[in-house]
């Protein structure tokens, strides 16, 4: 056996090495760009974009690697931002504890919604996630603490660990960057873990995974919870950074926007959602002068992407290098 093993294994290294090298280079470029960027671009914009990028990465973990299309991810993003804002403003918690509060909220909602949704597949799964998210949108609209149409405004950024003042945008930027990178690396690890292998197998052929003895529903539920929790990290961080939690973040167009970001960037690619989030936000930022028309332009981009660049920006670039 050993004689056949060694040549095959040296061969095995080749394609995965190319991929890994590509990812390492991509990661270095991303980190470098994010370190340099605040000196050239409006830091508030960058921080917001990083929050959305993490949100899209969390969403991509579920659809791109688990094959599960959630159409209600605004629920975790939005509710986490409410709870984080409330914790910081009303309970007076430090920012890291406020973010933890929001994240825990998203995890609990993820567990509840996930255990209902994973019982169904495909479009039914998507519809259950959407229905639950809309239900919770109306709850958010009606509840007192969310401030209804006004949202929770003037959320204090506070002092990190009670010591570091986050009022300065550059200080805040470092915190958001660290949270984003930590979340990104955690997602990378999940994808490349023994759990991630099973998740991939379930996406590829669920009945076969069952026939091998995997209890696929548990894996799907854990993936759903992880995705919701990380969406919660993104939502909480955004609430603290932008100092506001509002209905926009919990309503269904937000669930659609995260789908758009992921598709434009590249579904099932590790950097795709990051690129997608930055592209979409940059567009909204630059095109805000044309008002409502930005939605029309977004629609056109969405259709173009699906028709011409099915793999998304990052997916197409990766395919170019493979050739």
């Amino acid at each position: 056996m050993d004689t056949t093993t060694s040549p095959v294994m040296t061969g095995a290294a080749a394609p995965s090495m190319v991929r890994r090298n590509g990812e390492t280079i991509g990661f270095v470029i991303m980190v470098a760009a994010l370190i340099v960027a605040p000196f050239f671009v409006y830091p508030l914009f960058l921080m917001q974009a990083m929050c959305f990028a993490l949100f899209a990465c969390a969403f991509n973990l579920l659809i791109g690697y688990g094959g599960l299309l959630s159409f209600g991810h605004a629920l975790y993003f939005g509710w986490a931002s409410y709870l984080a804002a409330h914790a910081a403003k009303v309970w007076g918690l430090t920012p890291e504890l406020a973010i933890l509060t929001g994240t825990a909220t998203a995890a609990v909602f993820g567990l509840a919604a996930g255990s209902l949704a994973i019982r169904r597949q495909g479009i039914y799964f998507a519809m259950i996630t959407l229905a639950l998210a809309q239900m919770m949108y109306f709850v958010a609209l009606r509840m007192k603490f969310t401030g209804g149409e006004d949202g929770i405004q003037a959320v204090p950024r506070g002092h990190l660990f009670g010591v570091i003042d986050l009022t300065n945008d550059m200080t805040m930027y470092v915190v958001v960057l660290v949270i984003f990178l930590a979340g990104f690396m955690l997602i990378y690890r999940i994808i490349h873990s023994p759990f991630g292998e099973v998740l991939k197998a379930i996406r590829e052929n669920e009945p076969r995974a069952v026939s091998l003895g995997y209890k696929t529903e548990r894996y799907k539920l854990i993936a759903f919870m992880l995705s919701a929790t990380l969406a919660g990290v993104a939502g909480s961080t955004k609430a603290i950074t932008m100092q506001i939690a509002s209905l926009t973040d919990v309503n269904w167009p937000m669930s659609g926007e995260v789908v758009l970001m992921t598709l434009v960037g590249g579904l099932g690619t590790i950097f795709g959602p990051v690129v997608g989030a930055f592209v979409i936000l940059f567009m909204q930022f630059k095109l805000s002068v044309v008002g409502e028309w930005v939605l029309v332009i977004q629609g056109v981009i969405f259709v173009t992407c699906v028709l011409l660049f099915r793999r998304g920006i990052v997916g197409e670039i990766a395919a170019l290098f493979k050739r």
Binding site: P15, S193, P194, G196, A201, N205, Y219
Partner: protein, 254 residues
Amino acid sequence: MPVEVDLILVTEGLTKDFAGFTAVGGVDLQVRRGTIHALIGPNGAGKTTCFNLLTKFLSPSSGRIVYNGRDITAMQPADVARLGLVRSFQISAVFPHMTVLENVRIALQRLKRGSSFDFWRSKSVLDEYNDRALSLIDDVGLSDYALANAVELPYGRKRALEIATTLALEPDMLLLDEPTAGMGHEDIARIADLIKRVAKNRTVLMVEHNLSVVADLSDTITVLTRGRVLAEGDYATVSNNPEVREAYMGVGHA
């Protein structure tokens, strides 16, 4: 009832109704340990339904399934697989966008680690199964394809991969659903040979249309028509049974 022989799988009055249509009606099956048992019959006889019932992918309307002396009638499919009763599928069941090596390794991962909920660990911990995976891949003649994606394999090779993946679980009993369906001559010979080899220390129950494969491999043959057992015995007994000839000739050649 022959209680003195060692039976690995027994069904009693196994029945499945689909909205008024009885796909499988009161099937009593007895599979002896260490044999190759074939399930044959014309199209629509209920063979695949039977398979789905045995592996719990469908729940029986009535009847009992006993595997290794244990009632598995109410079990979940994943639990049945964990008891060592592992199935293949009619349509080749591979993980298309994973390599041949990864396909086999995912089965080893289940066998060796049970569950893999550890999302915080690097998957390099799975590399220790590579040697075992490669030797299984070698056994089914796929060494040259170890790093190809399963989707790129020709059909016959996919079936071979499926068998390698199934064998990785070291099952006591294999259920093969039409292992040679859609294959050319050389592939059929190779798979038949493979089945013969893997059946040496385990039990095989297979649905198969190719009667020469059935004749060549099986110790026992059960003939199903319209969801019921028509005849049972070795190939000579079954092929000389007038009712079986009638069923096959009447409904068309298998």
